[in-house]
Amino acid sequence: MLPPVIYIIRKEFSDSIRSRWLIAFTVITFFLVIGLPFVVAYSLGLMAPTIQTLIAGTSEIVYPFLPLIALPIGSAALVGERDRNTLELLLSQPISKINVFVGKFFGMFFAVSAAISIGMGVAALVIMEAPTLEYFSVLVIAYGLTAAMLGLALMISAFSKDRSMALGIALFFWFLFAVLIDMGFLSLVVTVAFDPVYLIPIVAINPLELVRQITIYALLVGEDFAVNLATLGPLGIAMVKIFGAEGILPFLYTSMAVWILAPTITAFVTFIKKDI
């Protein structure tokens, strides 16, 4: 017999993968990846997109949409069981709440990751002249963002009273990350009025900006980027100043790890301690 957690992962995966929301975003992601880098490339007068163009295009245009897959699905995961009156029957089985939480997290993570792999990966294979594994790193970063968003969504789900409340809060967070923080307004204010060093916390509190910076420093700029600081902009200069050229990626990875772990652990503890 398989461990009970596998049955929960399987059920959650199958529920999520059949969701119209997920299917719709897989298609949207596919067309974003397949279409927009071409637009970018041709607008720059290039004949075909290079891998760099593809990575940059994905990071700028596709990443902001990814939380819209994980957040709504994840926000319904725990509170949805309560709303549909299925939670009591589920928890009265010889399983622990840890099984339920872990099963739900990984079931949804695998489903959303599969959607991303199909949407982004297949599109990339179609448009790349010579398929390269470099684009796989972009997918890995996207999986990281998915894990962080699922953790946040589960935290929202554990705290919310019903599904509609959870969905509302989840969409607000997407708006916060993708629009409010990211619209450049905050960055502009900080750059003009204060030391650019203050841009660093703005990056750290926004997982979308974190994955974009990780993509830039891990995949796009060369190892000797610090030689030509002028190309990095005020944020890059501030990060080199604080962390040194070698410290930027560890800082970004650590911040991302915190974004994955902190909401997930908070969601887990809340779910475990809460009465049904």
Partner: protein
């Protein structure tokens, strides 16, 4: 079926608070293997909360053990010994009957061959591919019972099992439940419908009366009736005799409450006292045409228990 020691369930001074509200107050009782307990109480009495505490689904004060295992430490194991049919829960509506059974069989660590047997037991083989959401209330409840019985657990907890069913559904469910009750399991069934408790033969066993979060009575049916201090009603047909003369004899025997009603004398008395009355009448030359005894109803006993409890609570509040 796992063999367990006696005194299977021990609930000891359990209190469950939601903020300042006490849903269960200092509840204590035991239940042994093979016993059937009817958990009676009005809506909102705390029956469901008590069951959820017993399954380790809620945090509570006090102690609950099942076969010596503490619910707080061994909740997972205990849930493996209990088939629970919650009142306010349902299977997954978007999954078929069979898929629901297979999913829960997986969680219980049961071989999926058992699913086939279960489908037969709950008479849903024909509907195996139907989505649970498309089942009637009665069929859905049978599916829930099937899920609770997948591992053939030694303990069965049923929370208001027929509360949301129509008459047809109730009849079908009771028939199915009757078959399970015959298997000699430790069963706790909550209901606020005493008629239902009669019909599913719960009163062969024990009674647990819960009111305002407190267990106000726990024991056998006889004890329950005794504690309620309700008496039999003896109806004596006077026939050719003069009712007034007869009632005087009965009153002289010490039964001051005796009354004449049409051609009958109605006397409230204990079980043994009715022979004294009949003999007393006979000694005075009155031979009753016929008589019948009406035993106190469970409804009356239940009302007495819960109203006394209500009175006590009110008195306590007034004193404060």
């Amino acid at each position: 079926m796992t063999i367990l020691a006696d005194q299977l369930i021990k609930v000891d001074h359990v209190t469950k608070k939601y903020g300042r509200f006490k849903a269960v107050r200092d509840a204590s009782f035991t239940a042994d293997r093979g016993e059937i307990h009817a958990v009676l109480g009005p809506n909102g009495a705390g029956k469901t909360t008590l069951f959820r505490c017993m399954l380790g689904l809620l945090n509570f004060e006090g102690s609950i053990t099942v076969d010596g295992n503490d619910v707080r430490k061994g909740g997972k194991w205990i849930r493996g010994q209990v088939g629970y049919l919650p009142q306010h829960s349902s299977p997954y509506d978007d999954m078929s009957v069979e898929a629901n059974l297979k999913f829960y069989a997986g969680l219980k660590g049961i071989n999926s061959n058992r699913v086939e047997e279960s489908l037969k037991e709950i008479r849903l083989t024909r509907f195996r591919d139907r989505k649970a959401g498309a089942l009637s209330g009665g069929m859905k409840q049978r599916l829930m019972l099937g899920i609770s019985q997948l591992s053939d657990p030694p303990i069965l907890i049923l929370d208001e099992p027929t509360a949301n069913l129509d008459v047809q559904g109730q009849l079908e469910f009771r028939q199915l439940l009757g078959e399970i009750l015959d298997k000699g399991k430790c069963v706790l069934v909550s209901t606020h419908l005493l008629r239902e408790a009669h019909e599913i033969r719960l009163f062969k066993g024990h009674v647990l009366v819960v009111n305002k979060g407190r267990v106000v009575q726990a024991g056998g049916v006889e004890d329950f009736m005794k504690d309620a201090e309700l008496k039999d009603h003896l109806f004596i047909d006077t026939g050719e005799n003069k009712p007034d003369a007869m009632v005087k004899v009965v009153r002289d025997l010490g039964f001051k409450e005796a009354e004449v009603h049409k051609a009958q004398i109605v006397v409230e008395c204990n079980h043994e006292e009715k022979f004294t009355i009949l003999k007393g009448l006979s000694d005075k030359g009155f031979t009753p045409e016929s008589f019948r005894v009406e035993e106190p109803s469970l409804e009356k006993a239940f009302m007495q228990m819960t109203s006394d409890d209500l009175k006590t609570t009110t008195e306590k509040v007034t004193k404060k």
